[in-house]
């Protein structure tokens, strides 16, 4: 082929390819969370005062500087609560394996202060691995947090004078400025967290 024609053909090909790529980028929407519901605007956490597993004050300030996945449950729950915390711990591990820079901490908030002491939540949280913290505290302080975040919990009597605790199954994503940003509903699947968390934590 004539060298000039060959050059013309190559230039045309490059121009067409570039145009097609630009058109694709302009019309294809960016990746978005598939499972989590993002709040229209970040909601600052209210003031509250609970205790961590060492008996130290745990409040809104303790949540600044890092992302957190917050889950409300109770330790006398052998099924849903451990299942949820295992998924969240696995999500942390998966993000770390992927080399992600931002790894959220997991915060277990006990809504059963009658049975869940500081020592209890410390041992319980440790069961699920690093990066998992348990907190407990006075009912009134819990209500300050749960009422503002739309979290429900309540005692349900069972046989023999015992009781269970019904509680919201949601997991809340809190940003480094201690603001409620997004929520994951049940059932909690590892793949959903692995997909959505990097996108959520990268959002402005």
């Amino acid at each position: 082929m004539n060298p000039l024609r060959l050059l013309l053909a190559l230039v045309s090909l490059v121009a067409l390819s570039t145009g097609a790529w630009l058109a694709y980028r302009m019309t294809t929407p960016p990746a978005a969370p598939q499972t989590a519901t993002v709040l229209p605007a970040p909601l600052p956490l209210p003031e509250f005062s609970l205790l961590d597993g060492l008996g130290d004050r745990f409040d809104r300030e303790a949540m600044r500087g890092h992302w957190s996945l917050m889950f409300f449950g109770f330790t006398h729950c052998p099924d849903i609560c451990p299942l949820t915390l295992q998924v969240l711990a696995a999500a942390r591990a998966a993000l770390a394996d992927d080399g992600r820079q931002q790894i959220p901490d997991v915060l277990f908030v006990s809504v059963d202060p009658e049975r869940d002491s500081v020592d209890t939540v410390r041992g319980y949280a440790a069961h699920f691995g690093p990066g998992v913290t348990g907190v407990t505290g006075e009912l009134a302080e819990l209500r300050k947090l749960t009422d503002e975040l739309g979290i429900y919990f309540g005692k349900v009597p069972t046989a023999g004078g015992d009781y269970s605790v019904d509680h919201s199954a949601a997991v809340l994503l809190i940003d480094p400025e201690a603001r409620f940003r997004a929520v994951f509903g049940a059932p909690h699947e590892l793949a959903a967290y692995v997909h959505d968390l990097p996108l959520l934590m990268a959002a402005p």
């Binding site: 449950g73 330790t75 052998p78 099924d79 849903i80 049975r115 919201s168």
Partner: protein, 137 residues
């Protein structure tokens, strides 16, 4: 049509031979390690019923735990609930699944924490099945 005593005896013998093997068997048994604090474990498994009648498990006992309770977890309108069950019904020629987030056995009061757990399944006082499984990690 009348049958001779010999024929009746033969039929009874055949019925005894073909009725061999338990009607209720368990598969994929998983026992979770007791949780710190509560000391509670959960048991998950499949119960298979090969008989033409449903089997209603009314009680489960474990020598390793003070109590075994039948429970079901459910999430309704975003709220997680755990409810006690009076029985576990395994359908005729069917299977009942006890799995995370659903029906399960709640085991509590173990001292010391066991490495192996034995579960005895009763239907109205009759022991139907004994299962032994190691505790998971």
């Amino acid at each position: 049509m009348s049958r001779s005593p010999a024929t009746a005896a033969l039929l009874l013998l055949l019925a005894a031979c073909t009725g061999s093997g338990p009607s209720l068997v368990a598969e994929n048994v998983e026992i979770t390690r007791p949780l710190p604090g509560s000391g509670m474990s959960a048991a998950y498994l499949e119960l298979h019923n090969s008989s033409p009648e449903e089997i209603r498990i009314t009680r489960v006992v474990s020598p390793e735990f003070a109590a075994v309770e039948l429970h079901e977890s459910l999430v309704e309108d975003g709220v997680a609930r755990m409810r006690p069950l009076d029985s576990l019904v395994v359908p005729a020629r069917g299977m009942l699944l006890l799995a995370r987030g659903g029906k399960h056995l709640m085991l509590h009061g173990a001292a010391p924490a066991p490495d192996t757990v034995s579960l005895q399944f009763y239907a109205d006082g009759e022991l139907l099945l004994t299962v032994t499984a190691p505790v998971g990690d």
